[in-house]
């Protein structure tokens, strides 16, 4: 500091500013005096430190901040040694007295200029804020952000640490029902009780968070996996499913748990969370267990289903569906009276896909509605080319009944194609009748009043409630093939066939024995009182272009020329 022209020289004067506004020249003495008084009155803690670390000069603010620390201890506590090489530096230095200081240091030609501030309260506030943004306000558990950050840390840690961790996701069956029935306040209070029960079941190091709604996420840390997570899941399933008492209400919910051990996962938080969700979904589907551990196959199963769904959505537009028809034979008149339309899917990439593989997915996703409408219209159009006394039977899924437009769809198909409603037969299963509000019954009654016939399919396999037979005047009961094929071995089956046939006779309903494959089957079901048969003995399902030839008397056996791998009836 040889030539002090200005107090600004203590800092770093810029060349430009000097050019623009020339600084007033002052004497060295005056400059030194001004600098000193500024130093003394400045409200930040300032000090001059010798190159060897000795504190040469301090201002009153500095003395106030560090006055209770001895001159010997202070350089050590300020960690001045660690700055030796630095041109300038800024550090947060925790002191033994519990306070934290921000220390700024600038190298001078000889020694250092130090500026210090107590930021303990600032840090505490920042920590509170950090906690707050990672806390779920309702339950005071952590939130999704906390879970993701902790997962990220654990995924980046050593395999030994990571392998002993698992993510558990928990959700409650029927929580929405509680919310709807008892109100949000009780729903929220329930979530708080659930949180406390979860906390009581986990260990102190575990991370417990609420992700959203009634879904919770727990990271179990430092336990052998997946054994420990399985034990915890069982405990949670037990504890969380015990009754709750709130505002005078007794509440029952069931908890389900999905487990994703971190050892199995990719180093990606999203993947771990997805794995736990997949396991949770599996636990929801499997009613026998309230938890499930993720396995790599699950992801593939879900992917395969999604691929099937994509193909299924396209199949209709790409005209990959077709119908085949299986004749129904009247045992009394010894002639074919109608055909049941059966759906076939010939996928260019998958080949023939069994209805057993795609109908459940179509029902679940609602794709059954457009497919069902296509089946209905196609079957009616085909039947319009048949002799006027031949009927066509179309299967209608329970899902289609949930769709309001079913009756309109059926009636418009009939009128567009100008088919006599009496030639259309709707085959429904008992599941259709299970809808509590009776909308399906109303639709059936409306359709039947126009002449459309209704038959009850797969009778004897489900609930087989006789109440259904009373609640709706079915035209036909179709006896499931398992009873028909079994008649030879099992006298019980035969008794059932006989009972259903006699029931049909008394109620004025025709009875169709399905799955009749041999002459012996046919003889027996005829003797047991069935009015119609359907099955390989009469014919396999045939493509529409063969129906005319079949009816023209080519004979049942000759028509059975086309192998059909998915014979349903």
């Amino acid at each position: 500091m040889g030539s002090v022209h200005s107090i600004k020289l203590a800092g770093k004067p810029s060349v430009q500013s000097r050019e623009r506004t020339p600084l007033r020249q002052v004497s060295s003495k005056l400059a030194a005096g001004l600098a000193l008084s500024a130093f003394a009155t400045f409200d930040s803690a300032l000090a001059m430190v010798a190159p060897d670390g000795r504190i040469l000069m301090t201002n009153p603010a500095f003395d106030q901040l560090f006055g209770d620390i001895s001159a010997e201890d202070l350089p050590t506590q300020l960690q001045i040694e660690s700055w030796q090489q630095a041109e300038s530096a800024e550090r947060i230095v925790p002191f033994p007295n519990g306070r934290s200081f921000k220390i700024k240091i600038m190298a001078l030609p000889e020694g250092y200029f130090v500026c210090a501030g107590d930021i303990t309260d600032q840090l505490a506030q920042a920590a509170r804020d950090a906690r707050l943004v990672r806390t779920d306000r309702l339950t005071e558990l952590g939130n999704q952000r906390l879970l993701r950050e902790r997962l990220q840390d654990l995924l980046e840690s050593s395999p030994a640490v990571r392998n002993d961790c698992a993510l558990l996701t928990v959700d409650l069956d029927r929580f929405k029902a509680v919310n709807d029935a008892l109100g949000r306040n009780i729903g929220d209070a329930l979530l708080c009780l659930v949180s406390k029960r979860i906390r009581s079941a986990v260990s102190g190091v575990d991370v417990v968070t609420r992700l959203y709604g009634d879904q919770f996420g727990i990271i179990q840390i430092g336990r052998p996996q997946p054994e420990a997570a399985t034990i915890l899941a069982k405990r949670l399933g037990d504890l969380l499913s015990r009754p709750y008492m709130l505002e005078g209400q007794l509440i029952d919910v069931t908890a389900r748990v999905g487990i994703a051990p971190l050892a199995q996962a990719a180093t990606d938080v999203d993947q771990v969370m997805k794995n736990a969700d997949l396991a949770l979904n599996r636990a929801r589907q499997d009613q026998s267990k309230d938890y499930c551990v993720f396995e790599s196959g699950m992801d593939e199963t879900v992917k395969a289903r999604r691929a099937l769904e994509t193909d299924l959505r396209r199949a209709l537009a790409l005209r990959e569906f077709s119908l085949v028809y299986q004749p129904q034979f009247d045992l009394l008149t010894r002639r074919v009276t109608g055909f049941e339309a059966l759906l076939r899917w010939n996928s260019p990439t998958r080949g023939m896909v069994s209805p057993l593989d795609f109908i459940p997915l179509a029902e679940e996703t609602g794709i059954i509605n457009p497919i069902g409408e296509w089946v209905l219209r196609t079957a009616c159009r085909d039947a319009a080319n048949w002799p006027a006394d031949i009927t066509v039977a179309v299967n209608i899924s329970a899902v289609q009944f949930a769709h309001r437009t079913l009756a309109t769809t059926v009636l418009s198909a009939l009128s567009d194609i100008d088919l006599d409603p009496r030639r259309l037969e709707l085959e429904i299963t008992e599941s259709v009748m299970l809808d509590a509000r009776g909308t399906a019954l109303g639709v059936l009654q409306r359709l039947r009043s126009t002449g459309v016939r209704v038959s009850l399919d797969d009778f004897g396999t489900g609930y087989s409630s006789l109440g259904y037979l009373r609640s709706f005047p079915f035209d036909k009961i179709k006896i499931d093939q398992s009873f028909v094929r079994g008649t030879l071995e099992d006298p019980g089956n035969r008794a059932i066939v006989r009972a259903i046939a006699s029931l049909g006779q008394n109620l004025g309903m025709a009875t169709v024995a399905e799955g009749v494959e041999t002459a012996e089957h046919m003889e027996r079901v005829a003797a047991d009182g069935c009015t119609h048969v359907q099955g390989y003995l009469i014919s396999r399902p045939i493509p529409p272009e063969q129906v005319a030839g079949f009816l023209a008397g080519n004979g049942a056996q000759k028509a059975a020329c086309r192998d059909d791998p998915f014979l349903v009836a």
């Binding site: 406390k196 405990r235 037990d238 504890l239 015990r242 709750y244 005078g248």
Partner: protein, 146 residues
């Protein structure tokens, strides 16, 4: 209590492992904790133990009963909790008992907490009922535990 007390009656399966002495010690500790907590909450009631079953009656202000019940639910020394009754009662059945202990000896089961000082006899109406609950449950097959 100015308002009508709420009453909750439940039974559950005991899940304490150990010798009869260890079980008795555990039950004694349950009673001690219950009496301490219930006195603070203004709750009275009774606990009957026998044949692997707890039958308990809790009564007091509704929120206090709910709090006590929730604490009990978090206890893993029992399970398969079944609530038999919950609602307002005319009056307390066990006034002055933070948690009465109903002797199981009358129903011929394993002795437990026999040294308990606050035991009521089976002549008490509600105590008799708790014993009846245990009696009737003990002849039923054990529900599935997994």
């Amino acid at each position: 209590m100015p308002a009508r007390p709420y009453r909750c009656v439940y039974w559950s399966r005991q899940r304490i492992d150990g010798t009869p002495e260890q079980v008795a010690t555990e039950i004694e500790s349950i009673l001690t904790a219950a009496r301490r907590n219930n006195a603070q909450l203004g709750i009275t009631g009774a606990l009957a133990v026998g044949r692997g079953i707890f039958a308990q009656l809790l009564e007091g202000p509704r929120q206090a009963v709910e709090t006590a019940f929730e604490n009990i639910q978090r206890d893993e020394r029992h399970g398969d909790v079944q609530v038999l009754a919950f609602g307002p009662a005319e009056q307390r059945a066990f006034p002055g008992w933070p948690m009465a202990y109903v002797e199981p000896s009358q129903i011929g089961s394993q002795p437990a907490a026999s040294t308990s000082t606050a035991a009521v006899g089976s002549t008490h109406l509600e105590a008799r009922r708790l014993l009846d609950i245990i009696d009737s449950l003990a002849v039923e097959p054990q529900p599935r535990r997994d």
